[in-house]
């Protein structure tokens, strides 16, 4: 990791239906990231409710980068999505402080910040996506990968 505004991992473009985006981690870009992934996801047979669930998950994970990754706000945020065997895969990366204890971070109610931070963001994201994995190295950065299968495509 630690790739600034750079490109994705080498195998990203193995799936041709994909995008990769870089921008600074700012509050205004939380809504932007949501809208970008929702626009991309429209190519899969998601219902409107599922698209809202995807927006929610993206909002939680990108808000975490803005709130937690950097001491000085506005560090690099990398966001990608692609279609993998009919699933939507979304990846969110930063070069921030990283997470010491991922299991603890995933616990509902745990937050490194006090006051007005509920510590349920990752739980919400996990609830609404089919899969959520975190790969984090303290001092290097964090990578969250989420996948969601359209319910309409179940069994196919």
């Amino acid at each position: 990791m630690n790739r600034g505004y750079g490109p994705p991992a080498g195998d990203w473009w193995d799936r041709p239906d994909a995008f990769w985006l870089s921008c600074p981690a700012t509050p205004a870009n939380v809504g932007f990231a949501r809208a970008v992934v929702a626009a991309f996801a429209a190519r899969l047979p998601f219902t409107l409710d599922e698209i809202e669930e995807i927006k929610l998950a993206v909002s939680e994970v990108v808000s975490n980068v803005v709130l937690h990754a950097y001491d000085v706000p506005g560090g690099p945020l990398r966001l990608g999505a692609r279609v993998v065997d009919g699933l939507l895969e979304v990846v969110v990366e930063d070069d921030g402080r990283g997470i010491e204890d991922v299991a603890q971070a995933m616990q509902p109610g745990y937050s490194r910040l006090g006051e007005e931070h509920l510590g349920i963001g990752l739980t919400v994201a996990e609830t609404y996506m089919s899969q959520l994995d975190i790969d984090s190295s303290p001092g290097v950065g964090t990578r969250v990968r989420m996948r969601k299968r359209p319910a309409a495509a179940a069994g196919t």
Partner: protein
Amino acid sequence: MAVKVELSRAGPVLVARIEGEMDLAAAAQIREPIEQAWAGDGELRHLVLNLKGVTFLDSTGIAVILGRYRTVMARGGRVVVAAAPSRVRRMLELSGALRLLELADGEEEALRKLKPPPARAAARRRRRRGGAGR
């Protein structure tokens, strides 16, 4: 894009009508006018959040609501969420926020909930007087 907050007052109740997306970008824009109005008027006791125009709510938005809940609790008041669209309601449920907040279909119902029924209010006054007499 930007969120809109419109404040009004009905007796001891502060009513906040929120429109737009309740997320990290909107948090301060929602928090500040409500806190300012609340701090500037010691007669205020309850808060109604009319979420009719809210198109998106994530856990940061819920944190903003629960932060106001703490403010209102400090004066022994109540918070009623009115007119929440179904997706917003579902998010309030999932987050557990509904254990602390009351729901109302609309603003009027919310205000009615916060007005003690006259009979009960009278009974309470009688009880209080009785207690003082003992």
